[in-house]
């Protein structure tokens, strides 16, 4: 299998490149030596969830964030979206500290597809996707032609147009996740963070969703995806960052990161890595 979205699949009318967002767009979202820890109930200091992690996400690339459960992937995502403030280190968007951004301003640059996102019951897919325009309209704004256009582009680009007028809770899991993805696309972000977006999806929808992510990257969006499936990560991502116990254990091209010794050490499981045209294939050894 080749990479799902060949460059031929990238279209010129990609939303992020479109007009209306002509303002300076940040070139990178980065975490610099960040430390994060959750307060423990007993008040005793705990092992930090992140102990000095650096990561730079540039425009136009797909970076996969991998690592065993509890390695700090979700915590890092929370830092990058300002849901959590770093105890030490800095999170920068276009060189500016994340904390200096307004709420709506930040949401115009960074969109998130959450793990098992809640869907707004009763709303149509189109209405749900239109919610992605909130950061552009502000608290009291009303949608204008620019917003309608962005919604239309997002529906088309994600293949959700055909069920745009169905209520979102009536969709299948795969269709629903695509609708949520479309909402993030309508946000016209510079960076798109996906938290285990392929969870609970069957093979077809997993591939479809990551193909959509690659299309977004081809149009200039920086995509960071937390992924559990290493084979999927190997094929869909330009670079991988392997976290283990709150530190970066390895980072680089899939073939550099997905090495049997590294994986065995971080996942504490014996694996075999088979070479293939599309990238390394990881199989467990019993």
């Amino acid at each position: 299998m080749t990479r799902p979205a060949g460059r031929g699949g990238a279209r010129a009318e990609a939303p992020a490149a479109a007009g209306g967002t002509a303002r300076a767009r940040p070139e990178a979202l980065e975490a610099a030596d960040v430390v994060a820890s959750y307060p423990s109930r007993s008040g005793r200091p705990r092992r930090p969830a992140l102990a000095g992690v650096s990561l730079r996400l540039g425009r136009g690339e797909v970076v996969g964030l991998i690592g065993p459960n509890g390695s700090g992937k979700t915590t890092l995502l929370r830092l990058l979206t300002r849901q959590l403030a770093p105890a030490a280190g800095r999170v920068l968007l276009g060189g500016r500290p994340l904390a200096s951004f307004g709420r709506f301003e930040l949401a115009r640059h960074v969109a998130v597809v959450a793990q098992e996102p809640e869907v707004p019951v009763g709303f149509t897919v189109r209405e749900t996707v239109a919610m992605g325009r909130a950061p552009h309209m502000g608290l009291l704004g009303t949608p204008g032609p620019e917003d309608a256009r962005a919604v239309a582009v997002a529906l088309t680009a994600t293949g959700t147009l055909e069920f745009a007028d169905r209520r979102i809770e009536t969709l299948s899991g795969g269709e629903r996740q695509r609708a949520v993805f479309a909402r993030a696309v309508a946000q016209q972000p510079a960076f798109l963070l996906l938290d285990e977006p392929t969870n609970h999806l069957d093979l077809r929808y997993q591939v479809e969703l990551l193909a959509l992510a690659r299309e977004q990257a081809a149009s200039g969006v920086g995509v960071l995806a937390v992924l559990h499936d290493l084979n999927l990560a190997a094929r869909a991502c330009d670079r991988l960052v392997l976290l283990a116990e709150g530190r970066v254990a390895a980072a680089g091209a899939p073939a550099e990161v997905l090495r049997p010794d590294l994986l065995a050490a971080t996942y504490r499981a014996a694996v075999e890595v088979l070479p293939s045209d599309g990238g390394p294939v990881i199989v467990p050894r019993f």
């Binding site: 949401a107 959450a114 019951v121 009763g122 709303f123 608290l139 009291l140």
Partner: protein
């Protein structure tokens, strides 16, 4: 509707008396006896009923939107009981404690209603939302405590208690232009705030975390909307008593017609709420005239079955949260 409801009643008014009353009052001319009834009694009553229905429906829709819970309602989550306690506190103690009277029933009712909302939210909140069962349970418990406290006040008030009780049971017999103005002063701004934040309320349906990730200042907006919903509830309760089911039923019915987007839902809920309450009051004062039935009884008797019917209908239509079309 305003004219018809205004015309029907114990005195034989006709729509022309209402119109005459309006025109003559505007010109400052003398009114005929029937026009005086229209102007002094009937018109304020119909307007007060309309405003109360509009306010309670708005409050219900706002509570439902913020809590992402179709069963949230000023009555069910205890807000109305808290407001009722505050109002009764003013009615019973104002003679012996003047500052309370100065504050006014709506304000004290608001304070206690807000206290109820905070308490219920605190008791019922779970990570990322307010589950139905816990919300209703917390509302019932907190509401019961306030109802008990209200009963205690009523018993202690002795000779005043009958009058206060009939006020609390819900009705518009005390309507005056003064009470209309007082209620309008709370309800109209609330409508405007609610309408302005309709889109923000839509975002709440993504969950509080989802809304925050789209840039919404979730805590601030939530507090504002809850305060607005509580304020209207308190104002309605202090002029018209505790009237149940309107805030639950009307937004539901409106949602069936418009879908869940609040920009369309809120205005329709407000209009239907007003219309429903005017009709309910019309029934309340005519079914066994000259005896007036407390309007809260009428809304519960019509609202209960209607709500069950809605629930069945929406389930058949496949709506997961009572949202069928």
């Amino acid at each position: 509707m305003l004219l018809v409801a205004g015309a029907v009643g114990s005195a034989d008014l006709e729509p022309r008396h209402l119109v005459g009353a309006l025109v003559k009052s505007a010109r400052g001319e003398a009114l005929s006896p029937l026009e005086t009834i229209a102007w002094r009694i009937r018109l304020p009553r119909v307007l007060l009923a309309g405003l109360t229905g509009a306010g309670l429906s708005l409050a219900g829709a706002l509570f439902q939107g913020v809590f992402r819970n179709p069963l949230a309602d000023p009555y069910l989550i205890g807000t109305a009981s808290g407001a009722g306690f505050g109002a009764v506190l003013v009615f019973t103690l104002s003679a012996s404690f003047p500052p309370l009277a100065a504050a006014g029933a709506p304000v004290v009712a608001f304070v206690f209603a807000l206290l109820t909302v905070l308490l219920v939210t605190l008791l019922a909140s779970d990570v990322g939302g307010v589950p139905t069962v816990r919300l209703i349970l917390a509302g019932v418990v907190v509401g019961a405590v306030f109802t008990a406290a209200t009963s205690f006040l009523l018993v202690a008030a002795r000779e005043q208690s009958a009058g206060i009780l009939s006020r609390l049971l819900g009705g518009f017999g005390f309507a005056s232009w003064h009470s209309v103005a007082a209620l309008a002063a709370f309800t109209v701004p609330a409508l405007l705030v609610g309408r302005a934040l309709a889109r923000a309320l839509d975002l709440f349906q993504l969950g509080e975390r989802g809304a925050a990730l789209l840039g919404l200042p979730v805590e601030g907006v939530k507090l504002l909307l809850l305060a607005v919903a509580t304020l209207v509830t308190a104002a309605a309760v202090s002029v018209a008593g505790i009237i149940g089911f309107v805030g639950l039923m009307v937004p539901h019915a409106a949602r069936l017609a418009t879908g869940p987007a609040h920009a369309r839902l809120l205005p329709l809920a407000v209009v239907w709420g007003a219309a429903f309450m005017v009709l309910a009051d019309l029934l309340a004062r005519t079914v066994i005239a000259p005896v007036e039935v407390p309007v809260g009884i009428v809304t519960a008797l019509t609202g209960g079955p209607f709500f069950l019917w809605l629930l069945r209908r929406s389930r058949r239509a496949g709506g997961a949260a009572g949202v069928g079309t």
